[in-house]
């Protein structure tokens, strides 16, 4: 078994390799002075009378978020600046959604389809897009239909694709990864949904990686800390899942991760960025603001402070920053 030091060394080397292609483009729209850029795009009119948001408005909101993040007004150009050309040219891109909470609080189908549409316009063939989550029921909760026709956007769950025979390990995270991540996809765009979480405090970008492993319940100790941070340090996750389009169209501010309609609220927002720690720190703030508005104690007072966020930013993990002075938050 490799030591943590060896893993860190290898992870750093991997990051450096990745930097030669993708990060070179990313630097073009990085925030000044090394800050991590996080965009929150909102549209208060996203929901009409329906519980589902308007599809065209979600697409427009995605475009607005991507334009603010990349500085490129044309949606296709924005996506091309984020996804490395080497991946756009024939590699498979996964969309990791989250349907664990059931139909009432799952990644919205309108967002999944909007991302898929823009990817195709940027040059990705439909069959090179795979929408996936832990199991078929979770995918159905996201409004998806299971299908593997290579001429169309594919959709299949991790448990049917199978898991690696060998375990991967980083710190306390000793797991088997889904082959969708390790075998099928060159890159995965993270499409979590913002929720309160009874164990972790908040579930959003990093916590969504629990759907990548065979036995996520083994990573629940101590409020999922340091398990969430450790899991995200595993090379395949760190290097392939680096872009998040977070669904904060609707959310539960308490009682999550399951669906509790009495604690549902509508931020009507998307949260976009590459720094998964900065994104989760921002998401935590959104949850706390709503909890305060609803008269619910802070997560810390409730004994559920999401400590894994600071752990992910520490010297051992270096997954990003949770220092507000190093986050450039852009709200549009």
């Amino acid at each position: 078994m490799k030591s943590r030091r060896e893993f860190l060394k290898e992870a750093a080397a991997g990051a450096a390799l990745l930097g030669t292609s993708a990060a070179a483009e990313k630097l073009a729209f990085a925030a000044p002075a090394g800050k991590s850029k996080v965009v929150i795009a909102r549209d208060a009119s996203l929901h009409g009378a329906s519980t589902q948001p308007d599809e065209q408005k979600v697409l427009n909101l995605l475009d607005k978020a991507m334009a603010a993040y990349t500085g490129r007004e044309k949606p296709v150009e924005a996506w091309k600046s984020v996804i490395p050309a080497s991946i756009l040219a024939g590699k498979t891109i996964g969309l990791k959604v989250n349907g664990l909470g059931g139909r009432g609080i799952a990644t919205h189908p309108a967002l999944i389809l909007a991302v898929a549409e823009r990817l195709q316009q940027a040059g990705v063939k439909a069959g090179e897009i795979v929408v996936w989550d832990q199991n078929a029921h979770f995918l159905e909760a996201c409004g998806m239909t299971i299908g593997t026709d290579p001429s169309r956007m594919r959709c299949y769950p991790a448990d049917s694709a199978g898991f690696d025979d060998e375990e991967s390990q980083w710190g306390v995270a000793k797991i088997r990864l889904t082959k969708i991540l390790t075998r099928d996809c060159a890159m995965v765009i993270n499409l979590p949904i913002l929720k309160d979480h009874q164990l972790a405090g908040v579930t959003f970008s990093m916590k969504n990686m629990y759907g990548v492993v065979d036995k996520p319940f083994l990573l629940h100790a101590n409020g999922c800390n340091p398990a969430v941070a450790d899991l995200n340090c595993i090379a395949e996750i760190r290097e392939k899942v680096w872009f998040t389009v977070g669904d904060a169209i609707s959310s539960v501010y308490d009682g999550g991760p399951g669906f509790h309609p009495e604690r549902l609220w509508y931020p009507n927002a998307l949260v976009v960025g590459e720094d998964r720690v900065a994104i989760d720190h921002t998401a935590w703030g959104m949850i706390e603001k709503q909890r305060a508005a609803a008269g619910v104690p802070t997560l810390e007072a409730a004994g559920r402070k999401p400590g894994y966020i600071a752990t992910a930013a520490d010297e051992a993990h270096r997954l990003g920053t949770c220092d507000p002075t190093r986050i450039r938050l852009v709200e549009v």
Binding site: T51, L100, G102, R103, G104, Q134, N135, H137, H197, Q198, L199, A200, T203, Y210, K215, P216, F217, H220, G255, G256, P257, G258, F259, H260, P261, E262
Partner: protein, 166 residues
Amino acid sequence: MRKFGPESWKLGIAVIAIAALAASAGCKKKAVDPFPPSGAVAGWEKASETRVFAAKDLWQYIDGDAEQYLAAGVVSTSTSDYKNQGQLDAVVDVYTMNDEAGARKILESGESSSAKKVQVGDAGLAYEQSVTFRKGPYLVRIVAYESTPGTEQALLELAHGVEARL
């Protein structure tokens, strides 16, 4: 003294086996199907197969939520989708706990100031889009995916339909 031949031994073993089976059957809880079939509750159709999760597999259904049920002694969980008047979708979850105390613990943990107490089972709570009640070792949670003027009443009627089968 009377001797016991081979036939007598066989008869004795058979009697003991039957008695053991009978005792075993008597100790088991009666098999319960808490899910009303389509039409059993006016307006409600059962819209999916029932899925059942043993305690050790509950994470496959509600990972992250499972721990509170495990701590309260859940034995198994069954779930099914329902549809009202072809429009309103809902899900019914039935948690079979070790005992009444476990069901009570979960129900009380979900209570907030906006909950209404309702007369279903031993105790029940209702919100605009959900009804939760306990009856003996069973904890039942019914959640609608949207709110319409008739949602609350329709959920209560379905709750009574489930209660009657427990």
